[in-house]
Amino acid sequence: MSEITNFKLCDLVDKIKKKELSSKEITEAFINRSQKSTILNSYISDNFDDAINRAKEFDSKPNLNKKIPGIPMAVKDLFCTKNLRTTAGSKILENFIPTYESTVTQNILDQGGIIIGKLNCDEFAMGSSNETSYYGIVQNPISENLVPGGSSGGSSSALAAKLTPATIGTDTGGSIRQPASFTGTVGLKPTYGSCSRYGIVAFASSLDQAGPMTHDVKDCALLLEVMSSYDAKDSTSVDFVRGNYLNDLSDNIKGKKIGIPKEYRVDGMPKEIERLWEKGIKIIKDNGGDIIDISLPNTNYALPTYYIVAPAEASSNLARYDGVKYGFRSKGENLIDMYEKTRSEGFGDEVKRRIMIGTYVLSSGYYDAYYLKAQKVRRLIKNDFDEAYKKVDAILTPSTPSSAFKIGEKLNDPVSMYLNDIFTVPINLAGLPAISLPGGHDINGFPLGLQVIGKAFDEQTILNIAYSIEKNIGYKNNINDWWIK
């Protein structure tokens, strides 16, 4: 059985279509490996029994015209799944059973996918290390006591450990790309408006996007095709013609202009990251791409902007958790006391911190100084990209300023934790697509990622550039299954 879990998503689709493997065989293989991997704590809830039944059902009358026929997949526990507990990593949603399905998971089901479980994440996706989850920390399969990144840390861990052939995450400030980078996997944040936000537990609505997390760029193209759709149920969903991302995937990047922003060379960045970036630049040149120096002058203001905009939107989105209609409720002497105790006991420290930042920056007397100011700077950051894209087709940067860190290392210093997202946050503020792909290792052997940022709705170009880099960079994940006894 063990070799089945070594196959990538596209290989498994191929094997199902050629009838070399059944959905039941594949589903059982990933479930078995998941059951042997509980130490990683990648899952919050499993759907194993139901998944096996669905796999059998698929095998009894297989529809091979689907994009992911009979393929099992575990998904981040931020996507509402009908009749399957959805917690968002929070105590406040510990017993929440959605009565509806998120559009993205519905798309996965419609294309033949089978949900095998819900994956751990930082509480309400607020975190960069998966240490804020009420359901416990998650281990990075790369090495013991290493964080898997966050907030999609259960997703990156489960994918790298081969507990699922591919997965989906959400990315508000880097929550797909940073964990992908920390685990040597591929993660793509689509253009804002590409994947429907309907049924995703909301964090910061103007920044949130769902995206694929996979072993390689080919799988990423396929899963993006499955996920992305116009959806009337999301008022910010954009009705554009989606590409045939997999079919049109090409490593031919001849004549493509790729920008290198000087502001992304930050002090104290490990030499290996600098070297990896150079390696990426060389591959692009060798393949006929043009490297062009560009400037994104307001890069340094992106994180402070993000830490006003995201908490402000979060404080508003999370106002719904009042202990009345669903979720955890604490006893109170009166209605207000009940609200205050419910929210105090139901939310974790990081979530409370962000709600309070958001409440403060939106409060009377501070709105103009903080929130309005941040929205103006957000415009400047977007303008930087608009200017750059007059000269280039895409932008190449490192994904993160460091490799994965030890569990507990940054927990007591929120600002140092926030700095992790320095290269990913500007992209969310500008609503652009970006992909992170693994490229090398640091001195400890921990993975490092490169990020390719594209023009709005031009996912194909960044997939192609990433594909070309992937083919030439020779990256391999060294995972020795240390957690399996």
Binding site: T99, N298, L303, G323, V324, M338, V377, P414
Partner: protein, 95 residues
């Protein structure tokens, strides 16, 4: 600008999140270091810049106001921490 204990308590009230005295102190320290970091934005002159409220700067689309989920009352009430027949129950608000 510093966020003192009094301000922390005020925000806690506005956020409807009760907070213990000792935690309030730690929170005030955290918030101060975060706001110190945020205040970097004051270096920029934005007097002539228009605010960007949403990246999708289009008119939001309207859809037909029609019901497409029916007979889900029971499922919805199942998630409620306290209910009575078809109602959500909250602590008494009217004397």
């Amino acid at each position: 600008m510093t966020i003192d204990l009094k301000t922390v308590k005020h925000i806690s009230k506005l956020s409807r999140i009760s907070i213990e005295e000792e935690k309030a102190k730690k929170l005030s320290n955290d918030l101060n270091s975060i706001f110190k970091f945020i205040e970097k934005l004051n270096e920029l002159d934005t007097s002539n810049t228009e605010a960007l409220t949403s990246i999708a700067e289009t008119t939001l689309k309207l859809r037909k106001d029609k019901i497409d989920s029916i007979n889900i009352r029971e499922d919805i009430l199942k998630n409620s921490p306290d209910k009575n027949k078809d109602f959500f129950v909250v602590p008494k608000v009217v004397e």
